[in-house]
């Protein structure tokens, strides 16, 4: 190809830019945290040290805190990225995660009889089906009545939250009826721990696999291309591509819900081992930041989920070790998300860099 030299120079430039962006993101994290600690009157040194210790400071912190939190963020992040790519603004990953968690719990707590591997597989399948089912309400309203999914999915998040509240006080409550939570899931059904990595469970492999496959589908398959085309321009997809845009976006919405639901199932079987109200500290919302920072590319989501997993873990450590009150930690966390997104939104002036691009062989 005669333009090869120029094209590869362009790509080298991109790599340098990505690195610069990554450095800026880290600076934003340190700067924002330091500023807010200062304003709150806490020791900046202690706070930052705790942030470091809690996220990357030790092998234990990295595996048992950062990576464990990165798993649901990765799954919900891919869910959001895929939906956004199709032009479906699914803000409902949180609700779909809860629906998935409830479905997985129900299956895992049902009377035994089947081999545990099968039960685990069934529970995970149920969580995906639960998430897809929850998303199908908004997907149907969108396809049939053009109801904005931004609104409907946010509303359904609250419905899911209260539905879980009801379940853990009603049908799924533990037998003594004292605590608002389900019985503990049998040890045999827990996702296996990864040896030598503390509390890290095999859900990580599932999340990485999902990210890998989703990225591949978008890059290589006809279905992935239809999804991207429908998201880029519904009118051109219809007119020039003969693509059934409603069918494509509806299917994507359901897949997105299924992935978010799977995050709930993995969380129940890998971390909490029971269903209760605050099973998710807002993973489904943070997922939006995870996906946007990854520029809606499922492969990059694996990296940004790790970053946000580390932030969640480090913020927890600040509260425990540096005596920073949880309210301020929440403020810091929110400010961090904004800072990271703001830096992530910085673009080169070239219009080509404006959008999430799926590089293809050329």
């Amino acid at each position: 190809m005669s333009h090869g030299a120029r094209a590869s120079a362009f790509r080298r430039d991109s790599v340098a830019w990505e690195l610069a962006r990554a450095v800026l993101v880290l600076l934003a994290i340190v700067g924002t945290t330091a500023l807010l600690l200062l304003v709150g009157g806490y020791s900046v040194g202690n706070g930052l040290a705790a942030l470091w210790r809690g996220s990357l400071g030790s092998w234990y912190a990295f595996t048992s805190a950062t990576l464990v939190r990165a798993i649901p963020l990765m799954l919900t992040g891919v869910a959001v990225a895929v939906a956004f790519r199709a032009g479906v603004l699914n803000i409902g990953a949180e609700g779909q995660l809860l629906a998935g968690a409830a479905a997985a719990t129900a299956v895992a707590l049902s009377p035994p009889g089947l081999p545990t591997v099968i039960v685990v597989a069934l529970a995970l399948t149920a969580s995906a089906a639960g998430g897809a089912g929850w998303a199908s309400i908004a997907a149907f309203l969108r396809a049939r009545f053009a109801v904005l999914e931004v609104i409907s999915t946010i509303m359904l998040n609250f419905v899911a939250l209260y539905a879980v509240s009801y379940l853990v006080r009603g049908p799924l409550q533990e037998p003594t009826h004292v605590y608002p939570q389900s019985s503990t899931i049998d040890d045999a059904l827990h996702l296996s721990r990864i040896v030598g990595a503390g509390r890290l469970h095999s859900g990580l492999l599932l999340a990485l696999g999902v990210s890998l496959v989703a990225g591949w589908v978008l890059r290589r398959t006809a279905a992935g291309f239809r999804l991207i085309a429908a998201g880029e321009s519904p009118s051109a997809a219809t007119s020039a591509g003969g693509i059934n845009v409603v069918a494509t976006t509806t299917a994507t919405f359901l897949v997105s819900g299924a992935l978010a639901g799977l995050a709930g199932g993995v969380e129940v079987l890998g971390v909490t081992f029971a269903l209760y109200e605050n099973i998710s500290p807002g993973y489904g919302y943070t997922a939006i930041a995870v996906a946007l920072l990854a520029r809606l590319d499922p492969w990059r989501v694996a990296a940004t989920a790790l970053l946000f997993g580390g932030l969640e873990a480090g913020a927890g450590a600040m509260q425990r070790d540096a005596g920073v009150p949880s309210t301020l930690v929440t403020v810091i966390e929110a400010a961090l998300i904004l800072a990271v997104i703001a830096v992530g939104a910085l673009r080169r002036r070239s219009p080509a860099a404006d959008v999430a691009t799926t590089p293809i062989a050329a």
Binding site: H3, A7, A222, F225, A229, S239, A240, G241, I360, A362
Partner: protein, 492 residues
């Protein structure tokens, strides 16, 4: 050319020597329009003649490059629509500027300043209804009103702001005949009260029915200004489309195309009826055959049904009734390239892969697609670094070449067929010539091509046969500029 008044006579609105250029398109050159008080003035011209541009200048939506403007005999400079409104100029756009969910009174109050007193606005609307006979209910929501009533709201908006000069852009295009007659009667009365009305139209009968004076624009120049009694449909048509025929070049090319035409019917229609998305019949009982090797030119003024005809031929619209035989895969180059033809942020390869994406299954071999794309780029002389650059980084002409190349790429063994709509809109001279050469070559190679252009000269330059669409009827006409022009406006 006759002048209805000298420069000393009183004018309500005068635009003199107006120039306006967009990029390398001269939209207006020394255009002149003089409107006397108490008259209805019809502004006539083909699509793209500059009518709307001239009126947008008068209304402050565009700035002229050169020229002067007089309002009630005083020189003025109008810099914004707010300025124009303050000076008593009102404009009723072809596409309404109403908020459907708001009431009539609320819409009329929009754009006002200070405290909103809806009761007072409602009272004002009632007074206006009484004086104009518009029968507007101030509390009715605009979305519940008929198109005609919505238009009366638009007019009321101008009148509430004391407009004494009213510009109406194609006001009858959306109206039923009875509503049109009623509107034109009102326009007449409005002018008789000492105001001035400017009617932008391309319907001759309407212009001659209501106007006192007419001005014809062609290619940005004022070709003719005359009193109604001094013109006939023939003289107006001649002024609108030009007396000189496109000439020998057109003719000889047409004959070439005829001799080369490969036999074989590619499209066949019989008692074909088409409706738009709202279910309104736009083409009735059409019957025609189109052969391989032909370029069929479609000539029509906007909204005549050609939009639906082209989409039906391209397989993007299902006929209401009748027979339409067409190849399974028809290439389609829609006029709104950015909206309907390309994914602006995606690469050239991906845009080439877009065709037929709805039916594709499995894995896409992107390296094969990019090879195909680079082959098309060489073949069609597309100027771009490589097939991986986003199509938005290309010039309009190069984007259009990618679209043409994609749509002309042969699919399976179906006969080659292509429907193109305003294929050179927005392109410069060189790119236009390239696109024309591509279309001719495709027809030469046996493709059946249907071309609609709002520029009648482009139709005549390329077509081997011409179909005129007017008020739901499709009929073939000889390659005669004047006859075609007359048929397009219903004068034949």
């Amino acid at each position: 050319m006759t002048r209805p008044q000298s420069h000393d006579a009183p004018v309500a609105l005068a635009l003199r020597g107006i120039d306006k250029r967009y990029g390398n398109v001269q939209a207006l050159s020394t255009a002149t329009l003089e409107v006397s008080p108490g008259t209805v003035h019809a502004l006539l011209g083909e699509n793209g003649a500059g009518k709307s541009t001239l009126m947008r200048i008068a209304y402050g939506l565009e700035r002229a490059d050169a020229g002067t403007m007089l309002l009630w005999n005083d020189p003025v400079r109008i810099t914004s629509a707010a300025d124009a409104i303050a000076r008593g100029i009102g404009m009723v756009h072809q596409h309404f500027t109403l908020v459907p969910a708001m009431t009539v009174a609320e819409n009329i109050a929009l754009g006002g300043r200070g405290r909103l007193d809806l009761a007072r606005v409602a009272k004002r609307v009632d007074e206006l209804s009484a004086s104009t006979g518009f029968a507007l209910d101030p509390a009715a929501r605009v979305e519940t009103l008929s198109v005609g009533a919505q238009q009366r709201v638009e007019i009321a908006k101008a009148l509430v702001r004391a407009a004494r000069i009213l510009i109406l852009d194609e006001p009858t295009a959306v109206l039923a005949p009875a509503e049109s007659a009623e509107l034109l009667r009102w326009v007449r009365a409005y002018a008789d009260a000492g105001n001035a009305a400017i009617l932008i139209t391309h319907k001759l009968r309407e212009a001659l029915g209501v106007a006192d004076e007419v001005t014809v624009l062609r290619r940005g120049r004022s070709l003719l200004t005359a009193r109604r009694d001094d013109v006939t449909p023939d003289t107006l048509t001649a002024a609108m489309i030009g007396e000189e025929l496109a000439g020998a070049k057109t003719r000889s090319f047409t004959e070439d195309a005829r001799t080369l035409a490969a036999p074989g019917v590619v499209f066949r229609a019989d008692s074909l009826t088409l409706a738009d998305s709202a279910g309104i019949v736009r083409v009735r009982d059409a019957a025609f055959e189109i052969n391989g090797g032909e370029i069929i030119g479609i000539a029509a003024i906007e909204g005549s049904g050609q939009h639906e005809l082209l989409r039906a031929l391209a397989g993007r619209l299902t006929p209401e009734s009748g027979v339409l035989e067409r190849p399974s895969a028809v290439g389609f180059v829609p006029e709104d390239r950015h909206r309907d033809a390309v994914l602006l942020n995606r690469s050239l390869s991906e845009n080439v892969a877009l065709r037929g994406a709805g039916a594709r299954r499995g894995i896409i071999d992107w390296s094969a697609v990019s090879e195909q794309t680079e082959r098309l780029m060489r073949e069609y002389d597309v100027r771009a670094d490589d097939a991986a650059v986003p199509i938005r980084t290309l010039s309009g002409g190069n984007q259009q070449k990618v679209v043409l190349a994609r749509e002309l790429a042969l699919e399976s063994d179906s006969p080659l067929a292509l429907v193109v709509e305003n294929p050179t809109r927005g392109l410069d001279v060189r790119a236009t010539a390239d696109v024309h050469a591509r279309l001719r070559k495709a027809a030469h190679d046996g493709a059946a091509i249907v071309l609609y252009s709002s520029d009648i000269d482009e139709v005549l330059l390329l077509a081997s046969r011409v179909f005129v669409v007017f008020e739901r009827t499709v009929r073939e006409l000889p390659l005669d500029r004047e006859q075609i022009g007359r048929a397009m406006v219903g004068a034949a």
